[in-house]
Amino acid sequence: MARIVLTGDLARRFAGKDTEIKVAARNVRHLYQLLDELYPGMGEVFASRALAVAIDGDIVADAYLEPLEDDTEVAFLPAIRGG
Amino acid sequence: MRYEVADTVESAASLLAGEAGQSYVLAGGTDLLVQLRAGLVQPDLVVDVKRIDELRTISEADGGYTVGAAVAGAELGEHASIGNVWPGVVEGAELIGSTQVQGRASMGGNLCNASPAADSVPALIAAGATCTIVGPNGKREAAVADIPTGPGQNSLEKGEVLVSLHFPARPANSSDAYLRMIPRTEMDIAIVGAAVNLTLDDDGTCTAATVVLGAVAPTAIEVPEAGAALVGTKVDDAALEAVSAAASAAARPISDKRGTAEYRTKVVGVMAKRAAKIAYDRAANKGGK
């Protein structure tokens, strides 16, 4: 099960506080679906593409098919604009 | 806009005088072309004076110099001797813009453009330079100090052309210096500037001194009190502090994007005393004392 780290505004809005949960997701797309079931409305945030995802510390944009292994750490952060 | 090349001073004057609309002299062009491009001026006529020999030559006679009004800063800097006699005048002119701008910009243009912060003007005034002007009514002489009358305003009449600048022969043990404050090392307009021209006797005592400040009033201003503070001294620390105080006291600057009035008032004193020290050292070395 992947380790999902919810921090910042996403955590405050949906979980009330910083939260770490285990989710049995095959990949990022699957994770988005499962999280939306857990926290209704979160899927919309992901769909707006305002967030990037960090998988084991690596920041990836639009990583639907990125596989999630056991104990993979997944965190969400505001999409970064490079210069 | 019409562009005309004048071959003689007289033809330049008559072209300018004959234009009913706005007419401008094109010397180095480093201010005029910027203003033209930005739409700040809309000339009906531009008269290029760079092909008139009198405006393009430097001559020496009896220890004095005559410098054509359109002589470029780089040409002035390359001259064999004027920089030794009038180092402050030359360094003022050479501070106008970049190497590229130096290839074009002239003291005559800098003077007529009449920016309060013009780098060559304080040293010209401190030097007691005069100039020759030719217009529809003939030739006249004027003190350099009388040319700029306010920001962007000069005392030339319609049709008049500034032909040349004259520097008198100097007594022994004389020298000058110009210093300015800018936030970078190059390419800026002076926040303040100060020129000092002085003469020493054989003992190294200052017998005459002129201090002129830039960018602290609508035009460059001479500060007699600052000059007086040097006369009779060996330009020691006390004299320098007196120069600084007199310069700051005479300043009546504005605040703008380049600096505050408070800053200009303080720092023009610093520039004046440092310029005085440089001028003194130059004069003292010449005198062999």
Binding site: V5, T7, G8, D9, R12, D18, S48, R49, A50, A54, I55, D56, G57, D58, I59, V60, A61, D62, A63, E66, E73, A75, F76, L77, P78, A79, I80, R81, G82, G83 | A38, M181, P183, R184, T185, E186, M187, D188, I189, I191, K257, R258, G259, T260, E262, Y263, K266, V267, V270
Partner: protein, 756 residues
């Protein structure tokens, strides 16, 4: 892809870049160098007011002018709903973008475009612009970020209700959003602090300052498609954003990238391109538009002005126990400052248990801010690294030691969520401490400062194809505009993988129809992500070469290895075939060999940098001279070290300019008073000493050659490094940038008066 240490022949050397000769002879074609037969000249009418309602625009006189071929005003543009266009790494709201390209209803800043004209000459276009009659109803304006947040501030957008609050407010304000990031318990942490530093800081808007003004030529054809030649950091973004703004299909716009004369983040969006396409469509002729320098300053890209509060507490042995920051960034006239990145990056060089960062994205009547090299991070680092310096002083501790005690390392959890893999933060600090510069002596009125910085770096989408020619040379076709020597880096990586000489490789930056989508040249991503695509494409070529060689030699492909540019049979006496030999017969063994790669690269690997700056402050004038400067950075692996050093040096100098002189100077009417290089004072050659560089190479585990992005981190530390050096020289802590001589002297005199 993962990093494997290997013997390298090409990577790490310093060859001449493939486009070099064109760039030193004047032959290279930049944005404004392109021309088409029959082209018109396009010009833009811009607002002379900071904030005004557009009552009417009358173009009839301009239209009547002979030589005027087309005019567009805001009403001609279609309305677009708010939507984030994820063109690459940059999220841009296309509704706001459309209004920024051409104002409707209101003008929101000095320089805001509100009409465009195409005519047969520049003179006629200028005259036509002057003939457009606009009636304005001038409104109160606000420039400063703190003023813009006040309840009684003039409101720019009546539909802006602050996002990110517990409850969305019912009255509109200039605060677009609030964000918060936190870890641990900050209040509890401060209880354990022996020393607490609490300060507020401000920075002014600064421009990227690229020397090439924006320029475009657009030609709209009868078939409804458009060709666009322009310089940008991402021609795919130009295509997609222009398509969105104009309601066109992406496939209908083909953007041909020109050489780009600098960008630094400022050329990652569109300004002129949709206007040029629209004008060309109406006129039926190509239209060329170039910005003047004043237009560049008034209407493109600055980085936001900011106002920041930082509170940091530590125990007496230097362990940080809590950090609390509030960052207020003005985004310009439309939402979208990089405050999020600032919140994430400011504290990230440190391993913290208790930390909180609150960010506000605020609009004001200034040019819409754009990305500028590590967007948001230099501002954030200025505040945090200034506070760290004060903390070190209070603790009587060496500033490097303080940073080293608290430095992030492998396993550190960053405030924005993820846990770091192998990073070079500590390595960089150690290299800084050991550098001779750090141990050298200083004279009177001189001081030394250091500061650290972090940047995420991004990966993203890149495409590459490699064509192997019959004579054994190759062409790499890729989609990243070359802003600083990346063609060389691509050629070097391809040559390395293929085992051929660098000069056998040519590199082409292809147009939007000729290679797959590639995200922009930004986020320090090209050498990393496009480099990864090129490496993959080269590996693809190698696979095909091995297969062809195996078939030719009559051995099993598994028994063929690729080594030194040749396929070598490992069994029997089949021998070997070089790339050139295989290429020569490719037509007869299955056709030309083309390698391909399309990736969304991950694992960019963050960069850490620490800079050392020495200054001398003239106590009588406040003039600050930079005496010596050293930039130390974890660069992963330097593919072409000269260009890595160049990034480090250039970033440091931009930071010096930001710290000392550069600023957007607005007058009381909200008009930009210094839209030119004379009074927007960027560093010139004589302002600077040698900029020394130390490349610390901690390979990025996620890249085949260990590459990390290097382009942005160099701009993160300098602001604080300079200010910390000034403090060391004078004892005066400057908290507002830029530290001009005017500000410096005022501070020195204020201290003198206070002491008297």
């Amino acid at each position: 892809m993962t990093y494997e240490p290997k013997d390298l022949k090409v990577v790490g050397t310093r060859p001449v870049r493939p486009d070099g000769v064109d760039k030193v002879t004047g032959r290279a074609n930049f944005g404004a160098d392109h021309a088409l037969p029959g082209q018109l000249v396009g010009k833009v009418l811009r607002s002379p007011y900071a904030h005004a309602r557009i009552v009417s625009i009358d173009t009839s006189k301009a239209e009547a002018l002979a030589g005027v071929k087309s005019i567009i005003v805001g009403e001609d543009m279609q309305d677009i709903a708010h939507e984030l266009s994820q063109s690459g790494e940059s999220a841009i709201d296309v509704h706001d973008l459309s209004l920024n390209v051409l104002a409707r209803g209101k003008v929101l800043y000095d320089g805001h475009a509100l009409a465009a004209v195409a005519a047969t000459s520049a003179k006629i276009a200028d005259d036509a612009i002057a003939l457009i009659d606009v009636t304005y109803d001038v409104l109160p304006h606000v420039v400063d970020v703190d003023d813009a947040m006040k309840p009684d501030a003039p409101v720019l957008h009546d539909d802006m209700f602050t996002k990110g609050l517990e409850e969305t407010p019912t009255t509109a304000s200039n605060i677009a959003s609030r964000m918060e990031m936190a870890m641990g318990d900050v209040e509890e942490g401060f209880k354990h602090a022996d020393v607490i530093i609490e300060r507020s800081y401000k920075t002014k808007a600064v421009h990227q300052g690229y020397i090439e003004p924006h320029a475009v030529v657009a030609s709209f054809g009868e078939d409804g498609s458009a060709y666009v030649w322009c310089s940008s950091q991402g021609h795919f973004a130009v295509r997609d954003l222009s398509a969105k703004v104009l309601g066109m299909d992406s496939s209908s716009i083909r953007v041909i990238p020109a050489e780009i004369g600098g960008g630094f983040g400022g050329k990652t969006t569109v300004y002129l391109e949709p206007l040029a396409i629209a004008l060309s469509k109406r006129a039926g002729r190509p239209v060329k538009m170039t910005m003047t320098r004043a237009e560049v300053f008034r209407a493109t890209g600055p980085t936001p002005a900011t106002s920041m509060d930082v509170k940091i507490g530590a125990t007496k042995d230097g362990k940080i126990v809590a950090a609390d920051c509030e960052f207020r960034f003005h985004a310009g006239a439309f939402a979208g400052s990089p405050v999020g990145a600032a919140c994430m990056a400011g504290l990230t060089p440190y391993a913290l248990e208790n930390a909180r960062v609150v960010g506000y994205d605020v609009v004001s009547n200034t040019c819409k801010s754009g990305a500028y090299r590590a967007p948001g991070a230099p501002n954030g680092a200025f505040s945090v690294e200034s506070a760290m310096d004060e903390l070190a002083t209070e603790l009587k501790m060496d500033p490097i030691e303080l940073r080293h005690i608290n430095a992030a390392e492998e396993g550190t959890k960053a405030i924005y969520g993820p846990t770091f893999k192998q990073i070079g933060c500590k390595d960089v600090l150690v290299a800084t401490r050991e550098h001779p510069h750090y141990k050298s002596n200083l004279g009177p009125n001189q001081g030394r400062g250091i500061a650290s910085g972090f940047w995420f770096n991004v990966g993203g989408q890149s495409n590459a194809a490699i064509n192997v020619h019959e004579d054994g040379t190759i062409t790499v076709v890729e989609g990243s505009p070359d802003i600083g020597g990346t063609r060389a880096a691509m050629a070097m990586m391809a040559a390395e993988v293929l085992g051929i000489d660098y000069d056998r490789v040519q590199v082409v930056v292809a147009d939007t129809a000729s290679i797959g989508h590639t995200d922009g040249t930004g986020g320090s991503r090209v050498t990393f992500a496009t480099g990864m695509a090129v490496t993959n494409a080269a590996e693809d070529v190698v696979t095909q070469l091995r297969t062809r060689a195996a078939a030719t030699m009559g051995v099993d492909v598994d028994d063929v290895v690729w080594q030194d540019g040749a396929a070598i049979a490992t069994k029997g006496d089949a021998g070997s075939l070089s790339l050139a030999e295989i290429a020569a017969t490719a037509a007869r063994t299955g056709g030309i060999i083309v390698g391909r790669s399309s990736i969304n690269a991950k694992g960019a690997g963050p960069s850490f940098a620490t800079h050392i700056c020495d200054v001398e402050v003239d106590p009588e004038t406040g003039y600050i001279e930079i005496l010596r400067y050293t930039s130390i950075q974890d660069v992963g692996k330097a593919i072409h070290p000269s260009y890595v050093e160049g990034q480090m040096q250039g970033g440091a100098v931009q930071g010096i300019g930001w710290a000392l002189n550069e600023e957007y100077f607005y007058n009381e009417d909200g008009i930009l008073e210094n839209p030119g290089f004379l009074d927007y004072r960027m560093p010139v050659a004589s302002d600077l000493p040698k900029i020394d560089t130390v490349m610390v190479e901690v390979p990025n585990p996620s890249h085949p050659f260990g590459v990390r992005g290097v382009g942005e981190a160099p701009l993160v530390p300098p602001l604080a490094a300079v200010v910390n050096a000034i403090e060391d020289a004078t004892g005066v802590r400057m908290t507002e940038l830029p530290v001009t001589p005017v500000k410096m002297l005022a501070a020195l005199d204020a201290r003198k008066e206070a002491a008297e």
